[in-house]
Amino acid sequence: MLNQNNNSETINDKMIRLNSLVSWFESDDFTVEKAIEKYRQAEALAKDIERELNEFKNEVKVLKQNFAD
């Protein structure tokens, strides 16, 4: 499993999306009415990131090529 989910979105992509949601809370667009919806999106994303970080393993492959002279 690589640094991706089924949607090919990396953890980095998700962090960018989370930061973008946080920015909305800091912006003039913020309204309490919309905040609940945005909060739910951020919460789902945060859980997803944490799950991926805890579950994903690296795939180490030793190449068979001979790099001798």
Binding site: N3, T10, N19, A42, L53, D69
Partner: protein, 365 residues
């Protein structure tokens, strides 16, 4: 048989001698001091290798000279003995490397100065490493302790990466060529790794001298892919470290540089969520406070208007009271009903009684 003569031409003798030498010394390594070092025509290297008692002439091609050498240095050479067609004996050198701390240091300083002048180590050439690489090329010996540390730490810190490992020697004469081969391999892939990491644990100056190899240093400097080195050393940076985009102090440090710690990332995510909750609740509190202020003001307004109505009502009631007949009667006045003529019956109303009376006398005012 013993005294049988061998009839040979001069050329045949030299060929036969070389065959004998090849058979006797297929792979000889000599260590000695360099003297009479010179380069002819920009490509042929000549020097003598000597010890306290003997000297042997050596020849090699300049492109095979991977470490600068000069007179007085102690070097180890891989060479084949050869009798030339002019009857001169010499060693044809394939590889040469400085031996001993003093010679290694001197060679290092010469090459460092040369490559610095060429700009190989210039700061402006350094590239930023990718923040969260998905595809890493590692060049190391999988038996090395430094490699195990590196793999363990990146696994502890981050996941989901594809780590291709080029297994090479990281010390000895063949190491530099193998590492160059691995760098070239990664640079020729259709999908390039985002970063190459060269890993090697600590060792003696001799062990680490491969990382001061000129061709290897140039290969690192010219890699299309950014290179991070994690070569254990406690003294001088190797030339390969200096040519790399980033040089970590150890393999473990390289692992820390290449990926963030997932626990830090989880903490950052939690911080962001806390901020969102704080901001939202803060806004709700603000709205509640504002609403309360509005309500308080409305109550104050209503109270003031009520008081005003009550006050006005009091005035009106006072006026009404003043016109009330009962109040007038209470003040002692009498309502008179009937004709005010002598002999007529009239009705009188006081505050407390109704009275019938007869008019006895009438006088105009």
């Amino acid at each position: 048989m013993e005294n049988q003569e061998i009839q040979l031409s001069v050329s045949e003798f030299i060929d036969l001698s070389n065959q004998v030498l090849d058979g006797a010394f297929p792979n000889v390594v000599l260590t000695g001091e360099v003297s009479s070092f010179k380069i002819n025509q920009g490509k042929f290297v000549f020097f003598d290798l000597k010890d306290d008692e003997s000297t042997v002439p050596c020849f090699m091609m300049l492109f095979s000279l991977r470490h600068p050498i000069e007179d007085g240095m102690t070097v180890a050479i891989h060479a084949k003995p050869k009798l030339t067609k002019w009857g001169k004996f010499s060693l044809t050198v394939q590889r040469v490397r400085p031996v001993g701390e003093g010679s290694i240091k001197k060679s290092y300083e010469i090459l460092k100065s040369k490559l610095t002048k060429e700009g190989l180590f210039a700061t402006e050439k350094k590239r930023q490493l990718p923040e969260m690489p998905k595809n890493i090329g590692v060049i190391s010996s999988v038996q090395a302790a430094g490699y195990a540390d590196f793999i363990k730490i990146i696994g502890d810190r981050w996941g989901g990466m594809l780590v291709d490992v080029a297994q090479v020697r990281v010390q000895g004469d063949v190491a530099s060529e193998q590492i160059i081969g691995a760098i070239n391999h990664f640079n020729q892939q259709s999908v390039l790794p985002e970063i190459i990491v060269i890993i090697r644990g600590g060792g003696s100056a001799d062990d680490l001298s491969v990382f001061n190899d000129e061709r290897l240093t140039r290969a690192v400097a010219s890699s299309r892919i950014p290179i991070l080195t994690g070569i254990g050393h406690e003294t001088d940076l190797s030339l390969v470290d200096m040519a790399a985009d980033v040089a970590a102090s150890t393999p473990s440090n390289a692992a820390e540089i290449i990926v963030p710690d997932k626990n830090d990332t989880i903490d950052k995510v939690a911080d962001r969520m806390r901020y969102i909750v704080h901001k939202t609740l803060g806004s709700v509190d603000g709205i509640l406070a504002e609403t309360k202020n509005c309500l308080d003001k409305a109550v104050d307004d209503l109270t003031a208007r009520y008081d005003e109505y009550v006050s006005q009502l009091g005035l009106i009631e006072g006026k009404l009271e003043a016109y009330n007949p009962s109040s007038i009667l209470e003040r002692g006045y009498v309502i008179l009903r009937g004709d005010q003529k002598v002999g007529e019956q009239i009705g009188l109303e006081t505050a407390k009684n109704y009275i019938k009376a007869e008019v006895l006398h009438v006088k105009s005012k």
